[in-house]
């Protein structure tokens, strides 16, 4: 794999978007996440890597409270989005999720038309004043997801009829249509073939101009290709967090090194 396929751009990476402090997650009696502190920067791609079952997806799902839908799941500690605690009881997860969008492992377009898939978020959140507004949002989102040219002639065709890579980009378009500030991606390429993976990776790099992107991946090459910051999780602990370059070339923790060199995982 050529790690330099994606051109690095200069983006402002100084503002902290999300800051997690002492986060603990329990699934019933299982302690899934142990005391994680992390600062996620704005306009940055942050990659969570680690062996499977290390808690990286769980932690990701804490960031927009998707874990709320699991009855036995309990979250402790603080997660601040723009200095506001997202687990505060005044916070409505519905509003939170409009700000923190999510793209899932398997492409999951709704069994509706392409147009309706993208328009779904704006409709429920009332972002469009008119049909014309909605058309604009749909087009803009599809363009941002780099799929406009492929689907502009068949917006009324069902979203489930697209190829896997197209479906995933459709899901990204659906996620960006609500104008989120953070985009969470849970192994977005694991169900895709290499070509589609490349397309999505290029897209992720472009998305960072507007969003803070957090991506969970089990592919270290992918993390190296698309991210500026990398966090390494192991057995529910955040082992190491830093610039991607540094993590991959000069890891401080020997567990990180073992993982990167393929000894654990």
């Amino acid at each position: 794999m050529n790690d330099m396929r994606i051109v690095k751009r200069d983006v402002d990476m100084n503002d902290t978007k999300i800051s997690a402090k002492g986060v603990q997650v329990f699934y019933g009696d299982t302690h899934a996440i142990k005391d994680v502190d992390v600062e996620i920067k704005d306009k940055t791609v942050t990659a969570f890597i680690g062996p499977s079952g290390c808690g990286k997806s769980t932690f990701l799902r804490c960031l927009n409270r998707m874990n709320d839908t699991i009855d036995v799941c309990r979250v402790e500690g603080k997660i601040l989005l723009d200095q506001e605690d997202i687990y505060d009881k005044r916070v409505d997860p519905v509003q939170l999720r409009a700000k923190v969008g999510m793209v899932f492992q398997k492409p999951n377009p709704f069994p509706k038309s392409i147009y309706d898939n993208v328009a779904y978020g704006p409709r429920i959140h009332g972002l469009a004043g008119s049909k014309a507004d909605l058309d604009v949002i749909v087009e803009k989102s599809l363009r941002r997801a780099a799929i406009w040219d492929e689907v502009k002639d068949r917006l009324q065709a069902p979203g489930t009829g697209l190829s896997g890579g197209q479906q995933q980009r459709l899901c990204i378009a659906r996620a960006v249509a609500t104008e989120p500030e953070v985009l969470l991606m849970d192994e977005p390429c694991s169900a895709l073939d290499p070509i589609a993976t490349l397309q999505v990776e290029e897209l992720i790099d472009e998305l960072r101009e507007n969003f803070s992107v957090v991506i969970v991946t089990h592919s270290m090459q992918q993390a190296a290709r698309v991210s500026q910051k990398t966090a390494f999780f192991h057995l529910g602990n955040l082992v190491e967090y830093g610039d991607t370059q540094q993590i991959f070339t000069n890891p401080k923790d020997e567990r990180t090194e073992s993982y990167i060199t393929g000894r654990i995982g």
Partner: protein, 452 residues
Amino acid sequence: MSDMTANTQPTPQKSTSSLYDETKRTKRRNQSEVRFKAYGVAAIAVGLFFLIALLVAIFSNGIPAFKQTFITIPVELTESALDKTGNRDVAEMSKVSTFGYKPVVTNALVTALKDAGIAIPFKKEKDVEKLLSSSVAAQVRDTVLADPSLVGTSVEFRLLASSRVDGYFKGRVTRDALIRDKNLDAEHLDIADAMAKAGLMATTFNADFIFGSDASESRPEQAGIGVSMMGSLFMMIVVLLLSLPIGVATSIYLEEFAPQNRFTDLIEVNISNLAAVPSIVFGILGLAVFIQFVHLPQSAPLVGGLVLTLMTLPTIIISTRASLKAVPPSIRDAALGVGASKMQSVFHHVLPLAMPGILTGTIIGLAQALGETAPLLLIGMVGFIASNMPDGIASGFLDPNSAMPAQIYEWAKRADPAYYERAWGGIIILLLFLMTMNIIAVILRRRFERRW
């Protein structure tokens, strides 16, 4: 991708809005969420309300059927009326019909009333006999014929009160309602109250309702469900003996041996369709095939059992196949691997492992069959009085009989409201059977359920 930069300005007011403030729109959406959830709760509540209403109706109306009002009085069995020759010959005594016994019983009641100091406000003292069920003469006669030596003595009898009197004590019959009723007058009720006070009349548990036989239209106080219970029992024996082996054999064939071909498809389609055919159609089938074509006796539990077997088969087949499917292929492979034939692997290993599931399905199928009524109407299990207990196994299968649900239907169709109480009571018994069967099925499933 150069056009991207043109529309990439994040909406400014969005990023400044605080998460802590609930926007108007979110408030509205959350309200609609609450409403939607309330609809769901309401739906469940309505469903459960109907269940409770049904159970309340059944039990409040049905419990009285298990109690009956009896009159306990000494009856002077006068020789002159019952055995004129005086030699206690049963053959001779049986010539005295129930009409001969009636005055004896009536006199006994009049005497008992006088002894207890209860006034008889009728011109004809004989009128008090309306307090008694019309079945009492036969009851006394049976007792006398069973033991002729009782003649000439005074014997204490527990006699059925008439259904109106019984209804009065159960709150079904009111004095107002009696004004237009020729079966009983309000004065009778005064006597009844006085008798109850004097301990001559009491409403107690009535085992005859559970074990007794049906009675004629005019004697609801005497009717019981016992005979039709036997009818149901014989029917269930037929259903069990036929549907279990046939159902299991069919399932084994389809699950383990059937090749992928048209014939197999045909069987599968037939089974799934039969599962959805209305039960009344099975009744028509039974009438046309078993009664008109094969000339099996009408109203016989055997025919009922055959019809219900055909109806239950799909249920049993479907559940048996599911339990066969649940046995992992590795078991079959293991048996085949040590040199067993396919047949041996199925009968020695798969079938025993699937047995708890099969039995569960069979019991549930039987429970369904037990409560089924419509097909029984067509093969003639209603419209007559199921008054004879079957005297033997062949008679149990072949002699006309009713079945519990058919008996309940029969009672519901009769004009006297006293029969409604019995219909509800019959339902309680029927539901008790169904509940027991279902509980056994659940226990079987819990106990033997295997997770592979």
